[in-house]
């Protein structure tokens, strides 16, 4: 089974400039054909020339033969004339007359042959004249013989001399003619030879040139062919690449027809599903590859929607493998429509999203776990709150009873109690009061941890003055100096508690000095504001500075300085909840300085 999909190749593009080259190639071929034509013409013309030359050779031969024949016939005429003069026989006379009468005919025939050359015709005319004169003389002599007046041998011999000059002259003229003919022939042959040499060169040159041109055309052709082969090779490679991309892309790809039947499908998709190509293509519908629930949804909702709007994006379905197992897939598809807008086929991509689903599930379970823990935390907080509430109520009530009943005892049985009895009752009531304070402070401490911060810009100077006035009520004669303080960002009520506790502490620990002094200062530094409360009181051993902020941690006895040890713990908790720090500096009997930082409020423009 072939695994290749019926991919349509893109058009092979021909490089630019090839048109010009094709024109050049055609021009080369046309030029070489024209040259060959010219050579043919030249050859034909040359052959005709050659024929003409052959005619002239023949002509010259004939002229020369005719001239020779004329001379011979003239000699024969004169021979028959002499024979008659010697013999006086009628037959000899007749032969003489025959030959003499043939001569003018011969002259005329020769004249026809010589009409190409006026010079030869003149010579021929001269021969004609000489012949006519001579023949007239010969005929006169012959007449004298016939009349019998010329019988003597010495007269005959004398007569023989007659016309000798003519014979000589005619011979000379004929000789001229012969030479002229030869000269004419030579000159004609030379001309023809030169022409034929030119023709040979032309043929050879033309042939060579046209061979060159054809060679060039062939070379161009060859190059074009190579280029075509290269382009085809590239196209094949591109097609192979495209096919590989299609078949082995890391996603499922298929196309469906208007009914939803799968018309092609890539290998990745087939592998995912576990099908062979011929089990699916042309046989199965897209929804055949889904679980029944997904298939119903696809058929009734998504496919009609796809046909209507032409696309679907990230729709999730549960796909069904051949082996019956399932996996979640995300579908994206676009429709291909024809010019009239009618559906042709689809480009459909399916991505296996099991990993994402698993990750989602993990995130969901983590979220659930987080929510569970948050709920637990909230429950713990609620428990703590109700615990505080119980402490508040349940511990306070019996404490009040202890105090109340001690007092009732004191009131109702004063008569039967001695001083020691009254002192003991006083201790009971004092301890009950202290425990009540501890409970109140503890509750306050737990509240500062639980209450939501209501952050606002706070005028710390005004707040410090407010707290100082409140705290100073219990310490008449205390001197509190409050410098100009920067504004802070925080919860006003909680920060007031900080000032109350710090200023209250400073007042308490410096109260026994002859001149107790409390200084409150502060400064802004960048985004931070720093505040301090300094006193000249009892101070503390700096080695235990770290213990100061612990709950119920005290560096002084309750007798010396009353307190529960919660105030500074509250200060630290409030400052920490504002994102600040608090530190203590001091020395035994050297006073103390508590410094804390808070985020500064934005400067007002």
């Amino acid at each position: 089974m072939s695994d290749s999909g019926n991919l349509s190749l893109g058009r092979v593009s021909i490089p630019m400039g090839a048109d010009a080259e094709r024109v050049a190639r055609l021009a080369l071929v046309a030029l070489s054909l024209a040259l060959l034509g010219a050579i043919g013409g030249l050859a034909y013309w040359s052959a005709a020339q050659f024929d003409e030359r052959a005619d002239w050779v023949e002509h010259t031969k004939r002229v020369r033969l005719e001239i020779a024949a004329l001379q011979a016939d003239y000699s024969r005429t004169r021979y028959h004339w002499r024979s008659y003069l010697i013999t006086g026989e009628a037959a000899a006379h007749a032969a003489f007359e025959d030959a003499a009468q043939a001569l003018p005919r011969q002259i005329r025939g020769l004249g026809d042959l010589l009409n190409d050359s006026p010079a030869q015709q003149q010579r021929l005319a001269r021969i004609g004249e000489l012949l006519e004169t001579d023949l007239r003389a010969l005929r006169q002599t012959a007449a004298r013989k016939r009349s019998g007046t010329l019988d003597r041998a010495e007269d005959i011999l004398a007569e023989f001399a007659t016309g000798r000059q003519a014979v000589f002259d005619i011979g000379a003229v004929a000789e001229d003619m012969q030479r002229e003919e030869i000269a004419l022939f030579d000159s004609r042959r030379a001309g023809a030879d030169a022409a034929s040499a030119r023709v040979r060169w032309a043929i050879a040159g033309g042939g060579a040139t046209s061979l060159l041109l054809l060679g060039a055309a062939y070379w161009f052709n060859f190059r074009e062919l190579a280029r075509r082969r290269e382009a085809e090779r590239k196209a094949r490679a591109a097609a192979a690449e495209a096919e590989d991309l299609f078949e082995n892309a890391p996603c499922g790809y298929h196309s469906v027809d208007a009914e939803g039947r799968i018309v092609r499908m890539n290998r990745t998709w087939l592998d995912w599903l576990g099908y062979a190509r011929d089990e699916v293509v042309g046989k199965k519908f897209h929804y055949d590859l889904m679980t029944p629930a997904s298939a119903a949804l696809f058929r009734d909702k998504w496919f009609p929607l796809f046909k209507r709007q032409g696309w679907l994006k990230e729709v999730e379905f549960e796909y069904l493998r051949k082996d019956g197992s399932t996996f979640p897939g995300s579908l994206q598809t676009t429709a291909i429509v024809d010019a009239g807008g009618a559906y042709v086929t689809s480009r459909t991509v399916v991505v296996d999203i099991s990993a994402r689903k698993a990750a989602d599930d993990r995130i969901r379970s983590l979220n659930t776990e987080l929510r569970r823990q948050a709920a637990q935390l909230e429950a713990a907080n609620r428990e703590l709150e109700s615990f505080s509430y119980s402490v508040s109520h349940d511990l306070r009530a019996p404490l009040r009873a202890v105090d109340g009943y001690a007092q009732m005892l004191e009131e109702d049985y004063a008569a039967v109690l001695d001083d020691e009895g009254r002192r003991l009752l006083g201790v009971v009531r004092g301890e009950a009061a202290r425990m009540g304070q501890l409970i109140d402070d503890l509750l306050e401490f737990s509240r500062t941890g639980r209450q939501a911060l209501q952050v606002d810009a706070v005028d710390m100077e005004a707040l410090a003055r407010e707290a100082a006035a409140q705290a100073a009520a219990a310490f008449p004669g205390a001197a509190i100096e409050i410098a100009s303080l920067p504004r802070a960002k925080g919860d006003r009520a909680m920060l007031k508690q900080v000032w109350l506790n710090l200023i209250g502490n400073a007042l308490k620990y410096s109260a026994r000095r002859p001149q107790p002094r409390v200084e409150v200062g502060g400064r802004a530094d960048g985004g931070e504001a720093e505040y301090w409360v300094r006193d000249n009181g009892a101070g503390f051993d700096p080695r235990y500075a770290g213990k100061l902020f612990g709950v119920f941690q005290r560096l002084h006895s309750a007798e010396a300085f009353p307190g529960t040890g919660v105030g500074l713990a509250i200060v630290q908790r409030v400052v920490a909840r504002h994102g600040g720090r608090v530190r203590a500096e001091g020395a035994v009997d050297g006073g103390a300085c508590f410094t804390f930082n808070l985020p500064a409020a934005e400067a007002r423009g």
């Binding site: 009040r400 109340g404 009531r429």
Partner: protein
């Protein structure tokens, strides 16, 4: 049988110790005969709405004060407050919460429901006595309620 006709103060308090101390304080100011003490919210509601054991109580005598604890079994003080302030017959009766709870949410909720006063019981007996006598003097002698 208690003579309900003289009752001017209803003390709703589940702790007998706190009740005794409160009553002692009130007695010092001679309010003792005017106080009726119930031990939980359910009984308080029966008294107020003349239900159950209190079915025969004369509705014409207006109560001058309800002293209400919050943390009680069965029906808690907040619920009692909601019922009293939600009913036309009892809405006018002054209700003062007297509790150990200093919780902000209890205070906020009580005022939302229309409480007339909210007092945190002091731990010290002296302070408690003083507080109770202030409350008694104000609500019983100074304050006027519709007849």
């Amino acid at each position: 049988m208690t003579d309900y006709e003289q009752v001017e103060i209803l003390l709703v308090e589940d702790s007998p110790r706190d009740a005794e101390m409160t009553l002692r304080s009130l007695r010092k100011h001679n309010f003792a005969n005017a106080v009726h003490w119930v031990k939980d919210g359910a009984e308080a509601l029966e008294f107020m709405f003349r239900d159950g054991a209190y079915a025969g109580r004369d509705p014409s005598r207006a109560l001058k004060l309800v002293l209400l604890d919050i943390k009680m079994p069965k029906v808690d003080g907040i619920e009692v407050l909601r019922r009293l302030k939600g009913d036309a017959r009892t809405r006018a009766t002054p209700v003062v919460i007297m509790t150990s709870s200093n919780e902000e949410r209890d205070i906020v909720e009580s005022y939302r429901l229309g409480v007339n006063g909210y007092v945190v019981k002091p731990v010290q007996f002296e302070a408690l006595l003083e507080t109770v006598s202030h409350i008694g003097l104000y609500w019983l002698l100074a304050n006027r309620v519709p007849e």
